[in-house]
Symmetry: C2
Subunit: 152 residues, 2 copies
C-alpha cells in the first residue's frame, strides 16, 4: 500500500501513544480530526492497521510460566506445515505461532499457570502435535517491546 508522510506521522503517533484521544492524535500528526479519521480508515482497508489489541499481562493474571518452543518438522510430508499449524491453533495455551525459513521451522509461545500445568500441556498438547522431528524449549524470563523511535 502507498503511504505518504501524513500517514507515517499518524502511524508513528498511534504506535507511540496508543489510546490517545483522536482529536489530539490528529493535532500531533498535524491534520484535522476528519482527515486523520479518513486516513486511518484507509490504512485499515489497506491492511496496514490490522486491528487493535488489548495487552494482557499473563503474569499478573497468575499465569507464571511462559515458554518459547522451537520445532523442526518432518518435511517428508508436504502437508506437515499446514497440519502442524492447524493443530497448534487448537491449543488455547499457544498464544503465538511463527513459521521460519531454515533449519527451525516453527516457533510457539506457550503460557501455563505453573510448572505442573506446563508439564501437562507439554505432554498432552505439544508432544502430540503432528510431524514433529525435533524440538527445544526456552523458559521465558521477560518480554520487552521496544518503544524507541519507530522505523517508519
Amino acid at each position: 500500500m502507498q503511504i505518504d508522510d501524513t500517514d507515517r506521522r499518524i502511524l508513528r503517533q498511534m504506535m507511540a501513544e496508543p489510546g490517545l484521544p483522536s482529536a489530539e492524535l490528529a493535532e500531533r500528526a498535524g491534520v484535522t480530526p476528519a482527515t486523520c479519521w479518513r486516513r486511518i480508515e484507509k490504512l485499515r482497508e489497506g491492511g496496514v492497521i490490522r486491528g487493535e489489541e488489548a495487552l494482557i499481562d499473563w503474569h499478573a493474571l497468575g499465569w507464571a510460566v511462559e515458554v518459547s518452543l522451537r520445532f523442526t518438522l518432518d518435511k517428508t510430508n508436504p502437508r506437515a506445515f499446514d497440519e502442524f499449524t492447524a493443530a497448534a491453533r487448537e491449543v488455547p495455551e499457544v498464544i503465538e505461532i511463527q513459521s521460519f525459513l531454515g533449519s527451525t521451522d516453527m516457533r510457539l509461545q506457550v503460557i501455563a499457570r505453573d510448572m505442573a500445568h506446563y508439564q501437562e500441556i507439554y505432554r498432552n498438547r505439544i508432544l502430540t502435535l503432528p510431524h514433529i522431528a525435533e524440538l527445544d524449549a526456552l523458559m521465558l524470563i521477560s518480554t520487552i517491546k521496544s518503544s524507541a523511535e519507530l522505523p517508519i
Copy 2:
C-alpha cells in the same frame, strides 16, 4: 490480582473482539455498561490490562524482512544482560526483546525493508551489541496469533 468469572468474560471478550463498542462489550459479558467500565478500570489498575495497541502489518508497509535472532551472551560480565538489553532498545528496527533462562539468553525480533537493509542493520547495529558470545538467525515467514478460545 484476584479475578472472578465476570472479569474473565470481559477479558475474553476484549481479546476476542478488541475495539468493540463498550455498550456491546458489556452486553456480551452479561453486565451493565457501568459495571463493565468499573471492572475494566480495576483490571487496568491491577496491571492485568497493560494497554491497547494498534497492530501494524509491517509487510503491508513495505518492510519485507523479519528476522528472529537468538543470542548467547558472555556471562563473565555480570552486567552483560542489562547492557545488552539497553543497547538493543536503542535500535529502532528491533521490535521485540525477550530474555530466557538457559543456554539461549536473549531473542530479538528485527524488521527491515529488504535484504540489503537487513544486512546493514545486522552489521552495524546487531553485531555491535555488547557481550555477544553466540548468535543465530531465523528468517520469519509468518506470524499467527492464536485466537482460539482463550485460556482464562
